[in-house]
Symmetry: C2
Subunit: 306 residues, 2 copies
């Protein structure tokens, strides 16, 4: 794969940035990878495990000379970081981000972007419940989608170049506008996460069902919720605060449907339940066909032995 | 592993029964495995793929001469099957089931059990979203829990023997009473399933977010919900109809918590959200430590290539 950027600056060195570093290195996509993290411990780890060729104490230092700057901090911190780095961005450089919300990021970042720098917001739909510089792995983006959300007036070349980078890391790339992105993600990601957090919280609260039983018998459905609900608290706090309207709208629809099913249970309306469950089963088929999960009888899971 | 039963009759030949057949064969736990399924197609398949040594058109025929009879039909069908087979059960035989609800099964089945037959209700906490005789695999119960719920007056020997069978299939076995079982499962399985079904239904309803987008971008959290919501509709209808009280109680607590989080989002109360998400993260750690899931950075998932 030909090199796409000479010097990539990763601002924030968590799961996504460290996965990008591994993936870019594996495919030879970047000449040099430098980074900044707030804590000294993270900066030290990034050097130690070879994530970055150089790390810097400030984001401003890290972006000097970079032709690609990637903001990998929680959505709520993007604006401040953009303000700090703005004067030091190279003319002609591309500035992107990996935040899970796009309208709020654009509102916070765009005002700081100097003329001559191309701001191309992005969002890779990939992650695990782990965080930090050691959480990354090179294949995280393989066959996952990355959504690019170019702002008005961005020339096509920087967008195409960033697309090539994501494709080089194994992702499929789509473009959409910011409002639509935030609604789609409220459905496919934000509301499911809030629901998973809630269910895990309820289990934790129940004193009659002890923690150890909930954990012991988690394989029956709850386990998948706990994985989702183990995601980074700061990242998710920011997602809900900044994608408030779309999340509240989808939550409203969710509780409406949930109450209808609850009433069917209370009334013993088996036909309603059966019809509903049959309909949802079909959606799963679509996801398998779209290659976004495995149909293996054992889920393709690694066996866990004690 | 020594043979534990001479002749095991599986009534209903879906995911659990077919997995039991594979697991019993692999470990040499049963002398003969026979079965009954309602449809001719399932009976033919069971013979074709070697699940059963013999299949019978009626459950009554299948249980003759069996020292273990396993009811593997939906919870709502257990009572009728028990009535049909009761006159044909061998004295000294053990009758068990694999239903996800225990109080309702005991109420439906126990009145039909003749004196001299040992009824030991059971519930393996294992499954996938697939159904039918081809869905089973021998390792489904490996390192999963099987809960036995003996009714009053059952002698210890038949319980111990059934426990050895499940342990021989790789499961860990616990005993608990039926009411506690139904509450624990309402938390760890039944309510999570209802919530997943609801979320997938909401996504399906949204016309502005087309099906194809929801499916395409499902990797961001929603995917796990669709897997849960692809489970067998008849089985789950019966679960909710028969574990109504515990499910409604946990659902009530769930909506209460969800409304509190929804209000925090509306008010922009980031501290509340962050504290909640931090608490739920700890539960995940407990599940990894208990060996009920993998901590691998890529979830131990098989890569899906298109």
């Amino acid at each position: 794969m030909p090199q796409i950027y000479d010097r990539v600056a990763l601002i924030g060195l968590g799961l996504i940035a460290s996965s990008m570093a591994h993936a870019m290195r594996a495919a030879g996509l970047a000449g040099e990878i430098v980074g900044h993290a707030r804590t000294e411990e993270t900066r030290r780890t990034a050097l130690e495990i070879g994530l970055c060729d150089q790390v810097y104490e400030t984001a401003a230092e890290a972006v000097r000379g970079a032709d690609l700057v990637v903001l990998c901090v929680p959505v709520g911190a993007m604006g401040e970081v953009a303000r700090d780095i703005a004067p030091f961005l190279e003319p002609g450089a591309t500035l992107t981000d990996v935040g899970s919300v796009k309208q709020a990021v654009i509102e916070a970042v765009a005002p700081h972007v100097p003329v001559g720098v191309h701001f191309v917001p992005g969002h890779p739909l990939a992650g695990t419940e782990h965080s930090g510089p050691r959480a990354g792995f090179a294949t995280l983006f393989q066959n996952r989608w990355c959504l690019l959300v170019p702002v008005d007036g961005t020339p096509p070349e920087p967008v195409a170049r960033l697309r090539r980078l994501w494709e080089g890391m194994g992702a499929n790339v789509d473009e959409m506008d910011a409002a639509h992105h935030d609604l789609v993600l409220a459905v496919t990601s934000h509301t499911p996460h809030l629901i998973a957090y809630t269910m895990v919280g309820v289990a934790d609260d129940l004193r009659r069902v002890t923690d150890s039983e909930v954990i012991k018998y988690s394989a029956a459905g709850f386990r998948d919720f706990t994985r989702i609900a183990a995601s980074d608290p700061t990242m998710w706090r920011d997602v809900f605060l900044t994608n408030k309207d779309a999340t509240l709208e989808i939550l409203g629809r969710f509780t409406e449907e949930l109450f209808a099913l609850q009433r069917a249970i209370r009334r013993g309306d088996g036909d309603h339940l059966h019809a509903y469950f049959t309909r949802t089963r079909a959606i799963r088929r679509g996801i398998i066909d779209a290659g976004q999960d495995t149909d293996a009888p054992d889920f393709g899971r690694t066996k866990v032995h004690r």
